[in-house]
């Protein structure tokens, strides 16, 4: 177990280095780059050269990378020239808002999806199962922004049930405005979890230990909740870790639709104004969150499932 953890941790470092090298070179491949974005299209070559020298953009890419990485190791995500502030002043509050949205949305998806998935697996091919399957497939197939805008139209515009999110006010002063984004989020997440739980339970229900439990006279309730449910939950932990990038990706569409000032919206705005430092910082932060999440999920998996033996 300790050996596995050490190896897993070393792998994580390799992945982090690959990701930072990849995103750094990718973002610096943007034509014109940062300087163009700051100085505008009318900048003369002399102006560009002097600004590049001032900010160190004339240095070779690997020098820029190592300097940037050195700063990153000290917790400095970079300096945003276009807003003249450290990247973190905008990014950290946005990250907090994204995490609030993603966590509540995912929790909603889990709370609805997992019991539903179990019910579907136990009562498979019944009317309820088929209807739930249909709805979850729509959750898979519908573009998130479409779902979000329909909800806005129905519940904010036609029926004034939930107000629209207002950027100017603090996040927690308008909890009702958070309902629709979270529901949109939860709808997509519920589709994933109910489908996954359904197949996970169906895999477990044919296992020998279930037959043993039944033959020992355990009630159906005890078989499902005491044995099948707990075993079916194990792969959910892994999938939760693996789906972190998808969770953060999903936030982009929802934040744009609801004008929710999280990292996704910030990233789209930075992309439209080629704000490279901000894009770089957000990509690295989300990736680090994902990598740490995956590591935690793997460790949790090894702890939860005694059958897993890592050597």
């Amino acid at each position: 177990m300790t050996g596995y953890l050490i190896r897993r941790f070393l792998q994580t470092i390799v992945v982090t280095i690959l990701v930072t090298v990849g995103t750094f070179s990718l973002l610096h491949a943007i034509p014109g780059g940062e300087i163009r974005a700051i100085l505008g299209v009318r900048a003369t070559p002399a102006m560009i050269a002097s600004t590049a020298k001032q900010w160190g953009f004339d240095q070779p890419l690997y020098v820029q990378y190592s300097k940037w990485l050195w700063q990153l190791l000290h917790g400095n995500f970079g300096y945003d020239i276009s807003v003249h502030a450290p990247v973190t002043t905008l990014m950290v509050p946005a990250a907090v808002r994204t995490i609030v949205l993603a966590v509540t949305g995912t929790l909603l998806g889990l709370v609805v999806g997992i019991p539903l998935g179990i019910y579907q697996a136990v009562h498979r091919y019944t009317a309820v199962d088929n209807v739930a399957t249909g709805i979850s497939f729509i959750g898979y197939g519908a573009p998130t922004f479409f779902v979000g805008l329909l909800l806005i139209n129905w519940f904010s515009v036609e029926v004034h049930l939930f107000p629209l999110y207002n950027n100017a006010n603090p996040l927690l002063s308008q909890p009702t405005a958070l309902v629709l984004p979270v529901i949109t989020y939860g709808f997509v997440a519920f589709a994933l979890w109910s489908r996954f739980m359904r197949s996970s339970v169906m895999d477990n229900i044919i296992q020998d230990y279930v037959r043993t439990a039944r033959s020992k006279g355990a009630s159906e309730r005890r078989v499902i909740w005491g044995h099948v449910f707990r075993n079916s939950l194990i792969p959910v932990v892994t999938l939760l870790g693996l789906s972190l990038p998808a969770i953060l990706s999903g936030a982009v569409a929802i934040e744009v639709v609801f004008n929710y000032p999280g990292m996704g919206l910030l990233f789209v705005q930075s992309a439209l104004s080629t704000d490279i430092q901000m894009m770089l910082a957000i990509t690295v932060l989300t990736t680090l969150l994902t990598i740490v999440g995956n590591l935690l999920a793997d460790v949790a998996y090894a702890v939860l499932d005694p059958r897993v033996r890592y050597t």
């Binding site: 390799v14 973002l27 197939g141 519908a142 805008l149 990038p245 894009m279 989300t286 990736t287």
Partner: protein, 311 residues
């Protein structure tokens, strides 16, 4: 979908028969396996409905424009916002384009990008994964860390950066989506390869003096093809959704090229004006196409798994 399947299974027979005892019996077996797979697939009414819808939508997009002829390049502006009925069965959009005709043209782009991106991603991913699993050791470890790295960056962020760097067209869009999608099939096929490479018939290739690439392309890949096709089916739906999200965020195919996602997000600007024909047809087509591919993928997975269980 069925055609490569048949060919590949055929290849297995001719290659495997001489090395296996009782070749006559085995040469009859794959066809029955395939038939059994088909029976499992056909058991799912949803999958049949999905296949039917995919055939319909392909005809709609490519044959439709020859039957329902509309002007999709230049357009009389006085037609703008015309209501459904008469010469324009589904009305016109804000520029006077006939909506039904535009849905066909947009569908060509959505489906082309979806199908080709899925094909490219899964082909490359499959070869990568098979090579990684087959070579093993340090190379495998490094190749898989690259996969981890790509998987841990939220895909929307990467694709937005790519679209900012290179101006999007149908062709580059296929490349971009493939670029962020290939790690998933790669990981799956690697897992499959790890279990296949210990089989007798793969070992027999080595004994008989066949090279690594022969074992990989003639024996491992054909046997992993089921997993690859299932993944490719889901990839089509995912690619269509990614393309539509990009259209919504303003990074989609530039006009006059359009896709369902761009049409939908343009139509959503008029959501409060009652121009339902600009919103719901495009939205429904995206949802139904993606749901259909998901239905097909689900049933194919069941079919492939039943094949694997009886192997």
């Amino acid at each position: 979908m069925a055609i490569p399947h048949t060919e590949m299974s055929g290849a297995v027979v001719t290659e495997a028969a001489p090395t296996a005892p009782g070749g006559g019996q085995i040469s009859a077996k794959p066809r029955s396996l395939l038939r059994r797979g088909w029976e499992v697939f056909a058991e799912s009414k949803l999958a049949l409905a999905g296949s039917g819808f995919v055939i319909f939508i392909v005809l709609f997009c490519w044959v439709g424009p020859h039957i329902y002829v509309t002007q999709q390049v230049s357009t009389p502006i006085e037609n703008a916002y015309c209501t459904p009925g008469g010469a324009h069965l589904l009305g016109c959009d804000n520029l006077g384009y006939d909506t039904l005709g535009r849905l066909m043209v947009a569908g060509q782009n959505s489906l082309t990008v979806g199908l080709l991106a899925a094909a490219v991603a899964c082909t490359f991913g499959a070869i990568y994964g098979a090579a990684s699993g087959f070579i093993g050791g340090l190379v495998d470890s490094l190749m898989m860390r690259i996969v981890d790295a790509v998987l841990s960056i939220p895909y929307t962020l990467v694709i937005i950066v790519l679209v900012v760097i290179v101006h999007p067209s149908t062709l580059t869009m296929i490349g971009f989506i493939a670029l962020i999608y290939w790690p998933q099939p790669a990981r799956l096929v690697r897992g499959e390869t790890l279990s296949l490479r210990t089989r007798e018939y793969v070992q027999a290739v080595k004994v008989a003096g066949g090279g690594r690439s022969r074992a990989m392309f003639r024996h491992i890949m054909p046997n992993a093809i089921g997993v690859i096709i299932v993944q490719a089916t889901f990839a089509v739906a995912d690619s269509i959704l990614i393309l539509s999200l990009l259209g919504f965020l303003g990074f989609g195919l530039p006009p006059p090229t359009t896709d369902w996602g761009s049409m939908l997000s343009q139509g959503l600007n008029f959501i409060n004006l009652g121009y339902w024909w600009l919103i719901y047809p495009a939205g429904l087509l995206i949802i139904m196409t993606c749901v259909s591919f998901n239905f097909i993928g689900d049933a194919l997975r069941d079919a492939v798994e039943s094949r694997l269980h009886r192997r």
